[in-house]
């Protein structure tokens, strides 16, 4: 890299990480101030772990993210298989357009539109409050689905379509061929889709805000209600913990990733050696 590029990159990184560094530092502040650092302490971390409402919100967020990502991954993978096999070009275009809607539409419109439907249907059945865990789950599955489909579909298109056909010619039932041949081929796409769905669900605020019932609070909604009043460094302590969990996950996934590629490389080298020996 040229020196000018290095300086520019450094400036961008300072811009990106300055707020995060400030967050980390002030989470260890002794006093309540968010601008003057008076002394190191774990006071706000202890406070955080005493805040049962926040801890409950963490639990809710995890439950919701696990359910939403599992459902959207299964339904999205099945949908990708179906879309990939669609012969009718018109139907194909319709499916593509509909799948794109939640990604292109502003989140606030997705949230409002689902909320309006839930409220309307709830009123039909005479329910006083129609928003609950279930409406949130439906909303999360809905906005996660397109991301899963867009991860799985390219893998299906790259796959040699002769593979499942060969398996079926050799006596596999279509279902068995799908699980034995197609799933291992498209697994990287499914896993990426699952991870994306999980993180999107964890992080979502806007759509959750409009579809959440009173009884069910996720972490982003809890943070929103905390920032409405004056905020203590307690929230910074929470952000710091989230930051290190993410960092650990990223490092682990990077490490396992390079491990995976190393295994593949070694296998390829072995195969080359074998080929060379055979040709001799």
């Amino acid at each position: 890299m040229k020196p000018a590029s290095k300086i520019f990159t450094a400036l961008v990184m300072i811009f990106l990480f300055a707020p995060i560094v400030i967050l980390l530092v002030f989470s260890f502040n002794e006093a309540k101030s968010l601008s003057v650092f008076s002394g190191f302490s774990f006071y706000w971390y202890r406070e955080l772990f005493r805040d049962s409402e926040t801890l409950n919100a963490v639990k809710n967020t995890l439950v919701l993210a696990v359910c939403a990502s599992a459902i959207s991954t299964i339904m999205g993978t099945a949908a990708a298989v179906g879309i990939n096999k669609l012969r009718n070009r018109y139907l194909h275009a319709v499916m593509d357009t509909v799948t794109n809607i939640p990604m292109i539409n502003p989140e606030i419109i997705t949230g409002i539109s689902l909320m309006l439907m839930f409220v309307f249907v709830g009123r039909l059945f005479g329910a006083a409050t129609s928003l609950s865990f279930w409406t949130m789950l439906i909303a999360h599955v809905t906005f996660c689905l397109p991301y899963v489909i867009l991860q799985v579909l390219p893998k299906l298109q790259q796959m040699d379509s002769a593979l499942p056909e060969a398996a079926m010619d050799l006596g596999c039932t279509p279902l068995r061929a799908f699980f034995k041949v197609e799933i291992p081929e498209i697994l990287p796409g499914i896993v990426t889709g699952l991870i994306m769905a999980f993180t999107l669900s964890l992080d979502d605020f806007v759509i959750s805000y409009f579809t959440a019932g009173n009884g069910f609070q996720t972490l982003p909604i809890r943070i929103y209600s905390m920032t409405k009043k004056t905020v203590t460094p307690k929230m910074y302590a929470l952000a710091t913990i989230i930051f290190f969990v993410i960092l650990a996950l990223l490092l682990i996934s990077n490490l396992s990733d390079s491990d995976g590629s190393r295994v593949i490389k070694e296998a390829k080298q072995k195969r080359k050696k074998l080929k060379a020996q055979n040709s001799i």
Partner: protein, 292 residues
């Protein structure tokens, strides 16, 4: 051995597509129809244009010290949202384009590290990121402390349009870099070398080779920054001290006030405007692609 006829297989493929088709119809298409339905009805669900016309005709009086003037409330809010979103998108592009170029030319190891670094802030909740900026930009905040230290004096930033723009740029900056980078990383370096060999200077290479090739990435980056920044409501509340009502705030405000029909009307108008904009951008991109 039992053989499966193609018709049986295609029936199976339709079956696996069925759950998603039903889901998409029920929870993507029907809700959008409900936005239109609420937008064009009153509280007793009778047809009306009232909500839509209110958006275009509602006025309010604003006073700035000595003079007072009457303005179209929601048209002004929309114009302000558009202005701030366009400024933020432009700044993101100005910073993101060179960054994406630098990344695409770095060694593959550096590329991987830089992509990870840019993605880490995205994993923090945007509420927390925005709130951190609020404490940085405060009158007694860290930035003003630094500015005072080097003698630039305290500046009043929080509660201004600049603060809202800073928040938008910070929150959506990665969405600009990543699409441009992914297009540039695939770009054939031989094209640049060829242009140089044929006597093109650096500016010419940028204008005639790199820019046209990276255009698809730029367009998706612009869309990915413009749409969330035009419809945000948290950033303006926190960094603008609630003084700058944006279109997202208008929708959220009507929702909180339980005025669902007018909230739906604003959302409906926003959706239609964005759809028209996107259609134009897509056509422009296609034309460019055909010309190239």
């Amino acid at each position: 051995m039992k053989r499966y006829a193609p018709s049986q297989r295609s029936l199976l493929h339709k079956l696996v597509l069925a759950p998603y088709s039903i889901w998409a119809a029920l929870f993507i298409l029907v809700p959008l129809a409900f936005v239109a339905y609420y937008a064009f009805t009153d509280s007793n669900f009778n047809f009306t244009f009232e909500n839509i016309s209110r958006f275009f005709t509602a006025t309010s009086v604003i006073s700035d010290g000595e003079s007072t003037r009457e303005v179209y409330t929601y048209l002004l809010i929309f114009a302000r949202s558009l202005k701030l979103a366009v400024i933020s998108t432009f700044i993101c592009l100005l910073m993101g384009y060179p960054m994406a170029y630098i990344m695409s030319r770095a060694s593959s190891r550096t590329q991987k590290v830089l992509v990870t670094l840019i993605m880490i802030p995205m994993w923090m909740n945007f509420l927390i990121r925005t709130y951190a900026w609020m404490t940085i930009l405060q009158d007694t905040g860290i930035l003003n402390g630094l500015l005072g230290f080097i003698g630039l004096g305290p500046m009043h930033i929080i509660g201004t349009e600049s603060a809202v723009v800073i928040g938008m740029v910070y929150d959506y900056f990665p969405y600009m870099i990543l699409p441009i980078y992914s297009v540039m990383a695939k770009m054939d370096i031989k094209l640049i070398e060829a242009a140089r060999d044929l006597g093109c200077n650096s500016l010419g290479v940028l204008r005639r080779v790199i820019w046209p090739l990276s255009l698809p990435g730029v367009i998706s980056g612009v869309i990915m920054v413009l749409i969330p920044s035009i419809s945000t409501f948290y950033i303006s509340q926190k960094l603008g001290n609630g003084k700058f009502y944006l279109i997202g705030d208008a929708i959220e405000g009507q929702y909180v006030a339980n005025n669902l029909h007018f909230a739906a009307a604003i959302a409906f108008i926003l959706m239609v405007i964005l759809l028209v904009c996107m259609a134009f951008m897509q056509r422009y991109a296609n034309k460019k692609a055909v010309a190239a």
